[in-house]
Symmetry: C2
Subunit: 664 residues, 2 copies
């Protein structure tokens, strides 16, 4: 049985329109019926049915458009950062990038409100990804209350990692899946301490969720599934096929979606986000309404597809032909031939699948909050259920075939189509996101199907392999790339044999590195240097001749220190000597008061030698989260490598455009 | 119901001794009974019962001693490394230490065989921890077949991490728990690539396990549990109490066990390992046999304790007084008053608990393979079941109390004592090992109790907090410390404000750093230096005056290079100049042929400045897995920091004896 939780969306919207009129057209006891009236009422009923259908249809579209319009307008006016799933940006932020306002209070408020609206509008999107963004906004808000976290961007990121875990924990009722999702998919730097804190955050989130009891069943589990038969070895073959399907769909989706998003960015299309949302919503509503499998909310659909047909099941998917001789009212119903309802359901599902595949490509990436988990799972669940019914009917009608003979005797319940739906959902989600461990944990926390861990794992592994064969990037990495964020992926392996000297600046022929000397430059010299360059910082050396490195000074801190000194310290003029040493240099008697700047000098800048392989340099940048690294030879400063240089070099080595890295 | 899997051990050993004699002493139809004979037979039965009991008792002890003696002798003679759980050593190996033979073929063979023997001997130990060692031996064997892994100690460690995951996967039938155990508890360097590979290894392991189907029930789950009632908010209080108990037991166990193991290491006790095993086995057998809860195998015991009393349950723990008016044969039996059997079970469990707590302290660390998972879980399960029965009876007899009134109406099934056993088991395991996420995942993979994730998490968190309050080290870290392995724990935070200059050698007053110059030392100079010192390597500088660093040469490689050159290259004599530069130095005309050693020079040694905070240095050592790091100031070489220096400094800062770090 399936315990359908989280019934959201527009499927329930129209129920009030179908109210019957009580007692109209019934007869008193001991009266004669009016044959003619009855006949016309029958026609009436058809006519009324048709007109009620059209009315519902129109209302459905109108409500959908209204909700979508409201959502896109709110996002545009109040919080442009509230759009999308937010996961690519959160990944980038956690890797050490600053996007001001992305996790702000307005984003939190607007994303929460518009998320309800877009899910209700019946668009092909989910609320789970955006909930991670919402949770990170909360995490950011709470960390701004404590100076330990608000003043340290590293500590703040630990809180955000835990918040991401809590977000998935409430989105799916999957606390452990949430922690693993944060570890595998979202976080960059994830020490064990953060694992433990994320675990605690996810615990409290799950506990709060259970106390609120939103699904009214005292369960955390969103799509609770109880199957009555184990799976058989031979079924691994269709499961792996579903894995292949998931991988292919993932590849197709990522390619098409990225192509469409690139077109949106580069053509006029991007200038009409409201119109785009309205058009897509209208198309979705018009095509979705006639098909019962697309009309309802997607979580309801997934629930039904995961369902095992029990004895009391009234779904169209469970319309099997019962053996009249068999009367036992047990759960463990043997395989039966499919009835008319099942065949109807099959072609409706096929149409729904095609529609869902196409429309999701255009929906994800619009200027509204939109998650990808639920649509991906729906695609997989539909494909899986169809394969499952196919295998079930094949096994029923051909149980003498050699592959079925060992495990499927006539009158036995051998194939559970709902399990195929579950496996298909995992495969498609895996194909799009390239999750592995977290995917399986989320799936079995979602469904409670602990027994089916091997099929889920097999499908996840196959799906990842197939998808990786066509391109290493998951949808989130693809969007990061599309937007040119400076994200140094921990998953990519750098195996080229280049050296630090090949990547560092200045290159051969370029002007020499802009450096400061420890005690021979004037305030004016430094101000000129700052004005003429836009580097984030400058290495400080003993002298231009020896070039022995003593430290690194940040541009921001230099500017502030000079400004402060000019305002507050007397005697600091343009030709004051600046010194970074402990003691002031010996100066002629009449020279102006020197300016001590040791305070802004970082005495432990990171250095590598020019012979260090880039493989090691990339590893150091990743693991220590560096922004820049100085290159020396025999103690002499040669050059500098910034994170952007590393990213450019990696793009170049992977035959991509190095200029796609846009930020610093 | 509980599906008791993995019935191992000596509990089943004696069944054949109790065989009844068929048809002896029965009467034919229509015959008169012999009253006198019947009476004497009754006495007989008592006498026979007593003598059979004594016979069984003796046989039980004999078998136990035989098995234990065989096991300890095999370990002593063939593979001394096969003793213990192996997890502390594997942690150390994975952190980058070499223990030759620890993962060898003999260890694999002997540990597998003796593990069966010690579990059968009825000692208070489990097979789960040692199975991780066994799996790592297999991993090591397979990686020795492929040069990619056998020749690279880093790659080999990636395979071992995955093997550890596979080990737990088969030990508990918990593939995801295995991956997380490897991540959280065993592995040191765990990139996402390894996560993914471990996941695959665990998948194959689980799949193979399921194909072999050792428990005969097509389930992966070891202690499958199905409870019929949800848990209630108010029950969190006893769950947290169990967490506190788990934390306290963990602390007590670690302290006592380490004290005992230290005594074994430092006194004569350590010289008689065979005798020690024999004595402990004899004591265990003598005390364990009379109590039914210690006589049986520990996994059976845990199975029974996790059990929910269904209608058909015949266990003593389920001897409740049934309401005679109630006849419905449902699963969902309301709470009933405890019967005589339950009270008997309570004091037997109390005795068993005390015995288990004491004997496990002496068992873990003996020279036989011994795991700690199952004994810890048994302690927790016994305590938990007792608390559970207590709460159940309290709720039954006082359902008008304010705390029970909301959730426990008379005639309802509100308290499940088995759940308390499960929570207690998790708490005790957490207290000993300090696992968090992996613990919860293993527990719910073990039992299938996905619904009870919040109680499990609450108990695990409490247990860790309580235990951490008394000492940060889990049992495995404590044993690493006891043995003085050079293990740089990734979990410890280093927050002291010392600098690299405080830790580096040479200290003030010590002789200067032994360095090589790039082109002015003779072969003899270097040979003398190698002879007089035992350093693992030497920094190479431009000259003794400038002290500008150009690289680092390993002792081992220097020795080999000189030996090779002396044998094969003509003209290399004791006063040949050694040079590390690209070009040979200009030498007087009659000087001997110089020796080029650039090949053995590491041109990218890791350097930090003397002002680098030790917090950063520790971080660099951990994340990059360094063995040593050179310290410079303004490009000049000042000193060196080795891993041992870092460990010593950390011990000093934590007010521990720095000389407890024994290896380099």
């Amino acid at each position: 049985m399936v315990n359908a939780g989280a019934m959201s969306g527009s499927g329930n919207l129209m129920d009030f329109l179908d109210e019957p009129f009580p007692d109209v057209g019934t007869y008193e006891d001991f009266h004669t019926i009016d044959w003619l009236r009855e006949k016309s009422r029958d026609t009436d009923r058809h006519r009324k049915g048709a007109s009620a259908y059209i009315l519902n249809y129109l209302m459905y579209i109108l409500w959908a458009l209204l909700f979508a319009f409201l959502a896109v307008s709110l996002v545009r006016v109040f919080a442009p950062y509230a759009c999308g799933s937010g996961i690519p940006e959160i990944k980038t932020i956690l890797s050490g990038f600053i996007i001001r306002g992305y996790l702000g209070k307005w984003t939190l408020l607007i994303k929460t409100v518009t998320l309800v609206l877009v899910v209700s509008s019946g668009l092909s999107l989910g609320k789970e990804g955006p909930l991670v963004h919402v949770a990170c906004c909360c995490g950011n808000f709470f960390s701004s209350l404590f100076s330990k976290y608000s003043k340290n961007e590293g500590k703040r990121r630990e809180v955000l990692s835990a918040a991401a875990a809590a977000g998935v924990s409430v989105a799916f009722g999957a606390p452990i899946g949430g922690v693993l999702f944060s570890l595998e998919e979202v976080s960059y730097y994830f020490p064990l301490k953060t694992l433990w804190r994320s675990f605690f955050a996810a615990l409290v989130a799950a506990f709060t969720l259970r106390s609120i009891n939103p699904f009214g069943n005292s369960r955390l589990v969103l799509f609770y599934v109880e199957y009555h038969t184990p799976w058989y070895m031979a079924e691994l073959f269709p499961f792996i096929l579903l894995g292949v399907f998931g991988g292919l769909w993932g590849t197709l989706f990522i390619r098409c979606n990225i192509a469409w998003c690139r077109r949106r960015k580069t053509t006029k299309l991007g200038k009409y986000p409201v119109l785009e949302v309205i058009v897509v919503t209208a198309i979705t509503a018009i095509i979705a309404y006639p098909n019962p499998y697309t009309r309802r909310s997607t979580s309801e659909l997934i629930s039904e597809l995961f369902n095992d047909c029990g004895a009391l099941e009234s779904s169209q998917l469970c319309d099997y032909i019962n053996d009249p001789n068999m009367t036992r009212p047990v759960d463990d119903i043997p395989d039966r031939p499919a009835g008319f309802g099942v065949y109807t359901a099959m072609w409706q599902l096929a149409l729904a699948l095609i529609f869902k595949i196409v429309i999701t490509i255009f929906t994800f990436g619009m200027k509204i909050p939109s998650g990808l988990f639920i649509p991906s799972m729906a695609v997989g669940a539909m494909a899986g259920r169809m394969v499952g019914i196919g295998v079930e009917q094949l096994a029923y009608h051909h149980h003498d075939w050699i592959i079925f003979r060992n495990w499927c005797r006539p009158g036995a319940d051998c194939v559970t189509p709902g399990l195929y739906a579950m496996v298909g959902a995992a495969a498609c989600l895996g194909g799009v996101t390239r999750m592995t461990v977290s995917l399986v944990v989320i799936m079995f926390e979602l469904t409670g199907g602990l027994e089916y861990i091997v099929p889920l794992m097999a499908a996840a592994v196959t799906s990842k392999w197939v998808a990786d064969a066509f391109g290493k990037e998951g949808i989130y990495e693809a969007h990061i790339h599309l937007n040119g964020y400076p994200f140094l992926d921990v998953k990519d392996e750098f195996t080229h044999r280049t050296l630090a000297t090949d990547v560092m600046r200045p290159r051969r022929g370029e002007p020499p590195l802009s450096v400061l000397t420890q005690d021979s430059m004037t305030v004016e010299d430094v101000e000129t240097l700052i004005k003429e360059t836009d580097y984030n910082g400058f290495p400080v050396v003993v002298s231009r001749d020896s070039e022995r490195l003593i430290g690194f000074a940040q541009r921001r801190e230099l500017i502030l220190a000079i400004k402060n000194a000019r305002q507050r310290q007397e005697g600091i003029v343009s030709n004051s000597i600046m010194y970074f040493t402990e003691e002031p240099p010996e100066l002629p008697a009449n020279s102006p008061h020197p300016l001590k700047l040791r305070r802004v000098l970082n005495l432990s800048p990171f250095t590598v030698t020019d012979h260090t392989p880039m493989e090691t340099v990339v590893d150091i940048f990743r693991k220590l989260g560096l922004r820049q690294c100085l290159v020396t030879r025999s103690g002499r400063l040669l050059g500098i490598i910034t994170k952007k240089d590393v990213l450019r070099h990696m793009a170049q080595m992977a035959n991509q455009d190095p200029e796609s890295i846009m930020f610093n």
